[in-house]
Symmetry: C3
Subunit: 274 residues, 3 copies
């Protein structure tokens, strides 16, 4: 039913038992990672798709996905250094994200999660303390082609507290179905405007409110549906890098796990017919 | 999109920056108020109606409304002293309470909220930190006539902890569709009785349980629907003044913001056909 | 409306006023009990049935019930020592558990609840602080016959932290409709396995994870629906005793109130047709 790998952390204690797992020789087809890190990666991807491919590389794990309407994309990388141990064969697996989210959600944020890839049976054996799941993988061929986020030249660069971004999205969502993000090359400000039929909201953040800003000529309109979805995946207290252009997509980027985990979202703009 | 009034409070800090706003000369058509105070006023009115008129007087703000079935009324006053700054022209505006509740709900309780009245465009410009909303006002003519709470001679006066009142309402709601409030001129007690088809509940509070009581001859029946609605608006820890009579309406009154904000509810009795 | 028994606890304070109630002579047809204890007993029974009989004995209160599909049973006993005062005539009453749960749920966990039996009107008079309910009792004849949990010889005995049991049930429920509980006479382990169509979960607890284990030959399959219901009634931090057999029912047992309150659940196995 399940592999007999010793559980990396005891579920009945609240501390990760790193020394214990560190002293074992790592299973050749497995990794061990702090629950928090894996939950963040899974959570971010699940804001856009129900299923995705996970690329297991020699020294990293990668996810890339595009939502069914081709409006938003995500690229995520967990470098080897983000793991307690990482020893995977080069492989690509398909996963049901909702199921994986439920399972990894059983762990407390500091618990360790061990995932072993059964290359023959195409299953993940997932261990959290004394709990062991066997989760069937999906045929990666059955999952939509992975997108590649294009390398646009977006001249406006902003670094913002994710809390302020999320607050602006929440406010815009109260009154409007779309939000405009704007920058003027001569003003060190980022402006988010949501205009509804009767009411509107305006969030203007200047260089005091922002962590960094290199203003450029930018004005693009985005669907609140997508900004709202993405907001669910973004941690509440992180530095969020934004790249903006004029009627161009927005890129949102943040890292965690000491910079060894990175997430990039891209959302296509809505063409302003006015 | 929005006026360029400097935000009265920085949303990224948790303290109201009173000195900053205090040192500015106030916008002639605006007020600044602590979020908590405004949220309480809006929340209380929204228990009875979806839209209401707000009267802006020279030195106070007033709301009066009656529910669609003419059973319950509310009168609210925010005196000038309840505001950080208050400088409004005499005017009457119509507002969508749900929208105003959503917007003011974006503030933390100690944040400051700036509301500017655009007398020409008939809009509220609402500023909370770096967020600015433009909210269209409704034509006051389209909103139901404001009621005036009649000046009944209700001889039973009680002051009760709102927590005890809310608890009694919650208990009565479990078993009954109506609650009877009673007082006997010779006994220093307030009695709330809910009688259902099979079960009943009785809350009897004597002078030890009450803050004050001047008992009179009172017995009136009220619909749980209305008492329950009103309960949502009443703060959980406040002194609630009640006036009762015999088959007469009940009046409930409380103040906050150091006595500069006052709310009075009146609920009509159900005639006891027995 | 209600008996004039002095309220055993003042709802406006958070401490049970035991001295006050202790100094009174107990009402002959009543008991006083800490809310926590009564809420646990009511809550556990309500996971299986909507109505039940309560047997009032000379020195204990007992509930026994079986769910409508005859799969799960519960037996509960509150000994006299679990009460602050207990003085009931021998009687059997029928109760609406949902109503009794709502009423007792109005008390904070450390409040005292006084229940007086009106033997003539067949009502419970329930007092929590200054609140007094009158709750009609049901005709015990109208309620299903009480079951008796059979005295099987189940050779596997386990004592487990309820937290670990509840965690296993939650995990199994994510992937499967049934869970198998297993023990091998030669291994000091308890195994819970949930197998779904594609995924499975395995919780293996050894003598380090368990409080006690006397392993035997056991393998029985249970419906997740019933294990999930029962989980709602089990306190999150208690020692849970389990008895298991081979294609036999499971018995779950725990005590509280210093051992003076006891709950035993029994769940029938599903026959494995393989």
């Amino acid at each position: 039913m399940s592999t007999n790998t010793a559980p990396p952390a005891d579920s009945s204690t609240d501390e990760p038992t790193e020394t214990e797992t560190g002293s074992e020789s790592a299973d050749p087809n497995s990794f061990i990672v702090e629950a928090d890190t894996l939950q963040s990666i899974i959570g971010a991807a699940s804001t856009l798709v129900d299923e995705c491919k996970i690329r297991l590389n020699e020294d990293s794990l990668e996810i890339a996905a595009v939502d069914p309407a081709n409006v938003a994309m995500i690229e995520e990388t967990l470098d080897e250094a983000a793991f307690e141990t990482y020893s995977m064969p080069e492989d690509t697996v398909g996963v049901n994200l909702e199921r994986l989210k439920d399972i990894t959600g059983m762990a407390d944020s500091e618990d360790l999660i061990l995932i072993n890839l059964d290359t023959e049976k195409r299953k993940f054996n997932i261990t959290i303390g004394s709990l062991e799941w066997t989760m069937s993988l999906l045929d990666p061929e059955s999952i939509r082609e992975e997108p590649e986020i294009p390398d646009f030249d977006l001249e406006t660069d902003v670094v913002i507290n994710s809390k302020d971004f999320n607050r602006g999205i929440k406010a815009a969502d109260q009154v409007a179905e779309h939000a405009t993000l704007k920058s003027d090359p001569n003003v060190e400000e980022l402006q988010l405007v949501g205009e509804g039929d009767t009411d509107s909201v305006d969030l203007t953040l200047d260089s005091d409110d922002l962590i960094e800003i290199e203003p450029g000529d930018a004005k693009s309109i985005f669907s609140m549906d997508y900004l709202n979805s993405i907001k669910q995946g973004i941690p509440s207290k992180t530095e969020l890098s934004m790249e903006l252009g004029d009627e161009m997509p927005i890129k949102l980027h943040y890292t965690f796990a000491d910079g060894n985990a990175s997430v990039t979202y891209m959302v296509a703009p809505r063409i302003d017919s006015n």
